[in-house]
Amino acid sequence: MTTSTRRSVLRTTAWSSLAVAAALAGCSKKEEAAPAAASEPAAASAAAAPASSASAPLKIAFAYLGPVGDGGWTFAHDNGRKALEKELGSQIQTTFVESVPESADAERVFRDMVAQGNTLIFGTSFGYMEPMLKVAADNKAVHFEHATGYKTADNMRVYDNRTYEGAYMAGVIAGGMTKTNTIGVVGSIPIPEVIRNIDSYTLGAQSVNPKIKVKVVWVNEWFNPPKETEGAQSLIDGGADVLLQNTDSSAVLQTAEKNGKYAFGWDSDMTAYGPKAHLASSVNIWGPYYIKAAKDALAGTWTTGHTWWGVKEGAIDLVSISDKVPADLKAKVDKVKAGLKDGSFAIWKGPIKSNDGKEQLKDGVTADDAFLGGIKFFVKGVEGQVPGNK
């Protein structure tokens, strides 16, 4: 090929790819629930009071950490969004952006959402905390809701689910189903939420089987299917026969299925991914909270704060309990569920010792939310230390 032919080939290729890119740019990745009849000027919506006129629907946006199809964390959030649409229909209009990284890029996404006229914005991962605070400070008329965080502002509040209640109920089943008295957890990142879940899993198992031991491996990511597989495999190789996960894909369940062991679904119902291994799924039900938040925004009663819902409010449930679980074990789980629903049962009630022998909760004392939010120790029965502790 001569240089002039090569140059013309390159030129044609460059122009045609530019044309294709321009055409594709017209199709946005974000879904629109109802096509926007007229694009509202961004400035006008941002300046408008939350109690908007009945004609313009409330625009709500969601930022997801992973893909909607992960079958886990993000899938559960999207189900909540769909429940919200079903409930409030024409009063609202929702959009979402998936796979938003927990970095400076997130700030760009949130600013973009504000610019598009959204006045209620949900950030569904811990790592969005700082970007959301920044964008909230610059947009006082927009409401921000941050999942699993702890910093708030006048126009930004925090919401979370008591996933540890699901972990406890799973632990009850695990304690009864294990044959080796060793169960395992594939942990994601060593933050209090995950440590609390590991501890609750242990407490639940110990309530039916005081002899159990719990092994933990840390993947150090929320989502990495090959690594989750390797972690699960190493737990199974180490003797664990019932696995719990705090990661976002179905890889752990699939590994258990491959090895003929048991595991639980996490965040969403994962029965289909490992029919023989699946014992139950601890699911996050975000619908009720999203509906409440949208109603607050519509009625103008939105205030900042910290919401932490669990089984009582219908935000957490242990579903699809397998037929392999014997009836008496199922009855125990139902009893715990009922106790959590009416508030008569408390999971974190003393005496509770950490695995280095120190007493963490005195006899008869029930832990409050502040204690639960700062748990950094493993209870007795869990092997190893929390990474980062000395």
Binding site: V9, G69, W218, N220, P225
Partner: protein
């Protein structure tokens, strides 16, 4: 004792993915082309393999589909880099990014799918020997094929005429061109074969290793395979050993965690890359060592008739 046998078995499994991709990239780089698009090719092959396995139920067709996907992407890369002489590193990176996005886009429909139960494999008599059986002889056939392939590739490179020509093209394309060999076509074949092997590795991940599909599921193994080829100074047997070493590090890390030993997992994750840099530093200190260990024309564009 049992746990060590299982650890060894898990290491072989984890290392096979890296070994297949590493050997493919070795063929690639022996002809003088650096293909940084390994990650993208593996991702596209992973979704191609997974989709095929879902639609047809056959694992081997899935491997074929993965190989085809890898070869096609590598072919496109090859035309750009060999005939249009674009910068190999930039084009490879572009291929990687393209592969990530394209695989995610195509895979949207498949994220909720799952495959039928994976069969168990065990070599008939050897699989029952007390320690060695569970450790070595209960693997997917692909693990054994990889070892055989490494032996075959060593023979090909160092004992056959075609392998000699390939190495010659990688050392000095000008001399090979002067001798009358079709340098560019040889390079294209090498690139496509390398891509096909990366494709097989990608399909292995999504069909055997972690039988599901989610965006980005290769999670960096393509980059590790690239580092691996350099770490192994472009020799097939070292690529295989290095693959098991790198694969073993991850499994060792989890095993140690499960035992309660507190080595930082981040440190262990860094090890493969630190090892590669150490090797590069060692071989680059001495000009003679560089010549004997690295294909001389690696990364450089070739202009026949100039």
């Amino acid at each position: 004792m049992d746990t060590y046998a299982l650890l060894l078995a898990a290491t072989l499994n984890a290392g096979t993915v890296l070994a297949i991709a590493g050997l493919g990239l070795l063929i690639n780089e022996r002809s003088g082309i650096v293909n940084l698009g390994a990650e993208g090719m593996m991702l596209v092959a992973a979704i191609a393999g997974f989709a095929t396995a879902v639609q047809t139920g056959s694992d081997w067709l899935a491997f074929g589909a993965g190989a085809l996907a890898g070869a096609v992407m590598a072919g496109a890369f090859g035309v750009l880099v060999i005939w249009l002489n674009t910068n190999q590193y930039a084009t490879g990176l572009a291929l990687s990014l393209f592969g990530s996005g394209f695989s995610a886009f195509v895979g949207i429909k498949y994220t909720q799918e799952h495959l039928a139960a994976r069969p168990h494999f065990a070599v008939p008599v050897l699989g029952d020997i007390p320690f060695i059986g569970p450790a070595l002889f209960r693997q997917h056939p692909m693990v054994y094929l990889t070892v055989l392939f490494m032996v075959g590739l060593t023979w090909f490179l160092y004992r056959s005429r075609a392998g000699l020509v390939l190495r010659a093209v990688g050392e000095s394309p000008e001399s090979a061109h002067a001798l009358g060999y079709p340098v560019r076509r040889i390079r294209l074949v090498a690139v496509m074969v390398g891509g096909a092997l990366c494709g097989v590795a990608g399909a292995y991940i999504s069909v055997v290793y972690t039988p599901l599909w989610v965006e980005g599921m290769v999670a960096g193994k393509g980059w590790i395979a690239l580092a691996l080829t350099t770490f192994a100074t472009w020799r097939p047997s070292r690529v295989l050993l290095g693959a098991y070493l790198f694969g073993g590090v991850t499994m060792l890390q989890f095993h140690l965690q499960g035992e309660g030993v507190a080595i930082s997992s981040q440190l262990l994750t860094m090890l493969p890359y630190l090892a590669t840099i150490a090797v590069l530093v060692l071989i680059s200190r001495n000009p003679v060592w560089i010549r004997t260990n690295m294909p001389a024309s690696l990364g450089k564009p070739f202009f026949p008739g100039s």
